[in-house]
Amino acid sequence: MKKWNELVPGAVVLEAGSAEKFKTGSWRSFRPRWIEENCIQCLFCWLYCPDMAIKVEDGKRKEYLYDYCKGCGICAVECPGKKGQKAIVMEPEGK
């Protein structure tokens, strides 16, 4: 931990992308589960996720990065799924 006289005045964070260092997964009480067969790859979940918990590779949604998922459930609400079948469901953590 830094001492007071080692801090940047104004609490400005001069390092880009430093949120990667802060893992928020432990906040979660509900866990999103991805059901790949219902996924239409619209990437709404990636767009709406307030953190960086949706991994995208080569333009395709991949598994969750649960280290950054706080379980807010936004992705599950926004997910259109396929033919009325959601591709994301929220389940109690630890179940």
Binding site: L7, A11, L14, A16
Partner: protein, 395 residues
């Protein structure tokens, strides 16, 4: 150089802002400050400044926009009074906590309720703990000079703090006085170009403002804030010395008037100090050894310097144009602390606190005279009847 003019305090301050040529002015009108931003808006419309004007929908938004623009990397101004400052309150802390050197004239006005538009210091004193530098001004000349200096002080690389320049609503803001404008070019050279520190718009170096800082580091950031604002004292003195070379007008942390050989003294801010100095002279003629101290830098407060300027006196009255209901007046609390630290317990002057001029109630020479006569009696051994008392009040 310079030009002698007859102008209102608001006009004087608007011209200081024009000379500083800020990048952004975000504003919301409020009496008695409106005249400043109205005049400044004309400067923008007439193309005499390069400023982007933001007409906000409230003072909270005006200060929020100022914060955004300052974080982006611009020289930023706004101005306000009274309820406007009160509405800005949470944003004031954010401007200082983020080290953003916004310059804001504050035309002092009473606070509601009851509703009142006239001059007192309730607004500025309420912003005491917001982390802003506060410079107070007796007249139009001082408000103009302080506004010019405020840019240099706020933007100093060791500070980068927001600064408010206070003057009395209506008494100064709307009264025409003789004063001197400095020429544009020397003022521009004195203020200098704006130097950015960590601008958000430097896209090659992305950064974040306003992170969440919890129990692990918040205390350390506040310790740093305390350290940084403490530097303002020396910077104010340096900038004031340089300004004296430019203008011939000398400013310190406070003004001492006939204090050195005085036995009794008034401590009073802003326009009432002018009236009081005349009365000090009159009392001297009557054999009362009177003096006066007029604070200029109120935040950070120069405790040691004020304490040693007052400790030799026998009796001091602190005049407050604001009240802390259920407490002493805000200036009295500072002066008591300063004297106690300088003189220690059991010695130093006797102290009284008079609340005067709330809501723009006139402060008359007779008021100052009565106080000085009372102080003279206390100095000669009379007991203090009441530590805190309202004066000029109908009873």
């Amino acid at each position: 150089m310079g030009k002698i003019v007859a102008v209102t305090g608001n006009e004087a301050v608007a011209n200081a802002l024009r000379q500083a040529n800020p990048d952004v002015c975000s504003l919301y009108p409020i009496t008695p400050q409106t005249d400043i931003v109205q005049r400044f808006s004309s400067f923008v419309s007439n193309g005499v400044v390069d400023t982007e004007l933001i007409n906000a929908e409230s003072e909270h938004s005006a200060m929020s926009a100022a914060i955004g623009a300052a974080a982006a990397g611009g020289r930023v101004i706004t101005a306000t009074s009274s309820q406007g400052l009160a509405l800005m309150w949470e944003m004031l802390h954010i401007a200082s906590g983020m080290n953003l050197p916004i310059v804001m004239p504050l035309v002092n006005r009473a606070l509601s309720a009851p509703l009142n538009i006239h001059g007192d210091h309730s607004d500025g004193m309420g912003a005491r703990d917001t982390g802003w530098i506060q410079l107070w001004s007796e007249n139009a000349q001082e408000a103009y000079d302080n506004t010019i200096m405020a840019f240099r002080i706020a933007e100093h690389k060791d500070l980068r703090l927001p600064a408010m320049v206070c003057m009395d609503g209506f008494i100064i803001s709307h009264s025409i006085e003789r004063m001197e404008y400095l020429d544009d070019q020397p003022v521009k050279d004195f203020i200098g170009p704006y130097e950015q520190v960590n601008p958000l718009l430097d896209l090659q170096h992305p950064k974040s403002f306003g992170p969440l800082i919890l129990t692990d580091l918040y205390h350390e950031y506040k310790r740093l804030q305390h350290e940084i604002i403490g530097r303002a004292k020396n910077i104010v003195l340096q900038v004031s010395d340089e300004f004296a070379k430019l203008s011939g007008r000398k400013y310190g942390l406070f003004e001492s008037y006939r204090l050195e050989d005085a036995e009794v003294a008034l401590v009073v801010l802003n326009s009432a100090a002018g009236t009081s100095k005349d009365v000090v002279d009159a009392m001297r003629d009557k054999g009362i050894k009177a003096g006066l101290l007029k604070p200029r830098l109120f935040r950070p407060f120069p405790y040691e310097e004020v304490g040693s300027a007052l400790r030799h006196l026998k009796a001091v009255c602190v005049l407050d144009r604001a009240d802390s209901y259920g407490g002493y007046g805000p200036m009295f609390m500072e002066i008591s602390s300063a004297i106690y630290q300088a003189a220690g317990t059991g010695s130093g002057p006797r102290l009284v606190n008079k609340i005067y001029g709330l809501g723009g109630r006139d402060y008359m020479p007779e008021d100052a005279g009565k106080v000085l006569v009372e102080l003279d009696a206390i100095a000669k051994g009379a007991s203090v009847k009441a530590v805190k008392e309202y004066i000029g009040v109908r009873e």
